[in-house]
Symmetry: C2
Subunit: 491 residues, 2 copies
């Protein structure tokens, strides 16, 4: 045993020495605050590891992987580390490969494409596209911080998903490296191909376990000319979710259709002090935004107002960005205010099919009573992707136990309602205990077989997705992150 | 050797007996015209095989695969067999699994989804969607015949790809079976998931080599209110392809943007007798269709007319479906008329990035001269997906030799121009010799590793994509298919 661990130590040291020799001292960080801050993601689950690598070029990435493959060193790739699931936490140690410096953004207007490095921040891509009259729609809440590489890794979504889709819908091509350091590209600067297996889409959402992306080609679309926003209050959660179905039935196609349940509204109004309506309190809302040509918006507005008058109990509209901000405040306020209900939040991004949404809302009501924890729930109702925010106090062992029980029951229910346990965050470490309720044994075997076939040495982001990790046994770091408590639903 | 082949024969017989016992005589066809007609696809490359299976239920499919796995029988899944590449030809014999009877179509209006069997004909799905005011955009030329299962297998595209994308962009979920007969589902009736590897998109485009689809959930979108069509003639092919870039630069987003080169126009005008303009002859065209709200179309029309007057030498517009038909006739006529130039056509669906399209057109000019064969070229210019139609006489060995040389040179050039060898047809048998110029060794290894991991016995559609097949050494069947020579670009 002692001999074995000595050997392991020697291999680690040799690997690190080879790495420093290949990349130089400046790109390899083996101690200090910077290294510590890359030992966890937004889950704050920290693990010890050997070296932080600040990749600057494609060649760096190839070199790192060749060495990692040779010495069997685990490699956890990361962008800004905004993941909520621990997917960027280096649970098996080894090396952390930081891609933030590979953040090139080139907009190709005539092709409606952007060629970006994996470290490019999503908001920066959006801004660069807008300057050319173009639009990159995916808008995860962390968009001011998170990178396109991370968005590709978990197939990030956002508020505009119902109309515009998610990251996957905009990725035209990926370039990068296999775990053995060999260069591959899946697609090019063209939108169509039917030439062998589609590995591009297999990599998207694989959470850094199959390859490392060094270049992303994304599709851009024409920027919508204008927006129109409305908030509608409903008598009950049932009525609000019926409203989601009515909007679909009317053939309306809003860019954003956010649902806020009674608890979320309580947070916004009573804690956050943001109250949209004088005449009604504590009522669930739909926050709806249309975009498109002015003519189209005019038509959408008329039809939506007619529906709102009939189905809602109050509404407020905004014709420009400034008054829209007032409406968005309610969503923003509720996110922050939740922390008055508990200093810890489990944000589960589950998906429920349209026809089961009302059933699901009633279930959340029961779940809160049973486990005696507040669970303000809001989310992207048009695609059934709700964020159930289970609030508790981390230092209270009894509350922790109840939160754990609530999460497990939630996951079982979501699958029973023919939904799925993650819509946009991914599995990482946090959701590993629930993979087997979401996926049958044959499906799990297919995924594991692919992992084994493409990463036979198990180098890339080991310990994620497939190995069950007991997140509750591990204490998160007590450290502030720039986006803590202020992840904005709208920028 | 003799012993081995006796054993193989015995295993085949035992497998067939077990199959008939499990499925009954009516679903298993072992001789006759029906079986023969399923021995090839639109490539007309016919191979001998043991049994045609007419699957009626999901259970049938599971049973077939369990037996095939047990007895190691090759299984080639097929829909209508419109594939041009031989992807549905049972090159390794065994069983052909016909899915045409599994053609259920259920439209779920409030969810904007259709739940369809793999045997559902694409045009029938479109019609059913339209009845509910919805729209299924992918439109391969064979849409009146081809099935959604086949469309999923090759990720079929069509004319509306530039604005609306391809089959992949509409597939929400797939249900089906692994090669070992185990049931799996990739996604459900919801649009978002980030729960383990995305096998749905790996199956799409895998040409029936990884699994058998028994249910497809597709996304539908609101049906556009109106259309506006224009045909613009240009002084030269260069100018026409510059036009494609200008349209992109203007931020116009047509649903269809078809390019027809001089040769295609020659076919339409001189052979097909369809002449759109009195004042100009033999000039390349762009056929452009916008769709959307009437207000939007008005705006698009004004901007497009302004551009057409400046860049084109003649144009004709159509404000309704009937006059649009007249414009579409030119595309239709050219497809049929080509057969006056040769009784055999190789239709290569290559893709070239926008910036290299003009270069590519000049290359096609040189290629025709060098190999002394006509190659009318048209296609979906906005996404760079051109159909190069190499015409020759099949019985003329010398012409065949030249056609073969031209295809090889075409493929090399496409890759050199940073394009890809297939945009929507797939690889099948026909394009297998060119896979290794389109994909590097590392990429090929990844694909092969996946095939081996998911189908270790090599049962599903063996001999496709990866094994080089010399299509020129095999004589196609002399048999008529309903869509021969009349695959319409527009229905």
């Amino acid at each position: 045993m002692a001999k074995k661990s000595t050997k392991a130590f020697e291999r680690k040291s040799a690997a690190l020495a080879a790495l420093i020799e290949a990349l130089g001292n400046r790109k390899v960080v083996t101690e200090g605050r910077e290294k510590y801050m890359a030992s966890f993601d937004s889950s704050k689950l920290s693990f010890d590891y050997d070296a932080l690598i600040l990749a600057r070029t494609e060649k760096d990435v190839g070199t790192v992987l060749k060495l990692a493959n040779e010495y069997k060193v685990p490699v956890t790739t990361r962008g800004r580390g905004t993941s909520l699931t621990g997917s960027a936490s280096p649970i098996k140690g080894g090396w952390v490969l930081d891609m933030m410096k590979m953040n090139r953004i080139v907009i190709k207007k005539e092709k409606s494409m952007a060629i970006v490095g994996p470290g490019a921040v999503v908001k920066d891509i959006q801004d660069a596209a807008e300057e050319e009259g173009l639009f990159y729609p995916p808008d995860p809440s962390s968009l001011k911080y998170c990178t396109i590489g991370g968005n590709v890794a978990c197939n990030a979504g956002g508020l505009r998903g119902a109309k515009y889709g998610v990251t996957r819908d905009y990725v035209v091509a990926l370039e990068g490296f296999l775990p053995n350091g060999e260069k591959v590209s899946w697609g090019g600067e063209y939108k169509k191909y039917a030439t062998g297996y589609n590995i591009r889409d297999l990599w998207i959402g694989s959470e850094g376990t199959l390859g490392v992306v060094t270049k992303v080609v994304v599709k851009l679309i024409p920027k919508p000319a204008a927006k129109w926003t409305i908030v509608v209050a409903f008598e009950s959660e049932d009525k609000a979710l019926q409203g989601v179905q009515e909007i679909a039935r009317l053939g309306l196609n809003p860019a954003i259709l956010e649902y806020l349940d009674c608890n979320s509204i309580y947070c916004a109004e009573e804690i956050g002090g943001v109250k949209l309506f004088k005449e009604v309190s504590g009522k669930p809302l739909l926050l709806i935004e249309f975009d498109g040509t002015k003519a189209r918006l005019k038509e959408d507005r008329l039809r939506t107002l007619e529906w709102a008058k009939e189905s809602g109990i109050a509404f407020k509209e905004a014709k420009n960005e400034k008054t829209a901000e007032v409406l968005w405040n309610v969503r923003r306020a509720c996110s922050g205010a939740m922390f008055a209900l508990g200093n810890a939040k489990i944000n589960e991004d589950i998906v429920v099919p349209l026809e089961n949404q009302a059933k699901f809302a009633r279930f959340i009501g029961r779940l809160q009573k049973k486990w005696e924890l507040p669970m303000p729930t809001f989310g992207h109702a048009a695609d059934g992707n709700f964020h159930v925010n289970i609030m508790f106090h981390r230092e209270d062992e009894e509350e922790k136990r109840r939160a754990k029980g609530a999460v497990a029951e939630l996951m079982e229910k979501v699958v029973a309602l023919k939904g799925i346990i993650s819509g946009e965050h991914g599995i990482g470490l946090a959701k590993t205990p629930f993979m087997t309720i979401a996926r049958n044994p044959a499906e799990m075997e297919v995924m594991k077989a692919i992992k084994k076939a493409l990463d036979p040495k198990g180098i890339l982001n080991p310990g994620k997705i497939f190995d069950v990790f007991e997140v509750w046994d591990k204490t998160p770091e007590k450290v502030g992150l720039p986006w803590d408590k202020k992840l904005l639903p709208k920028q």
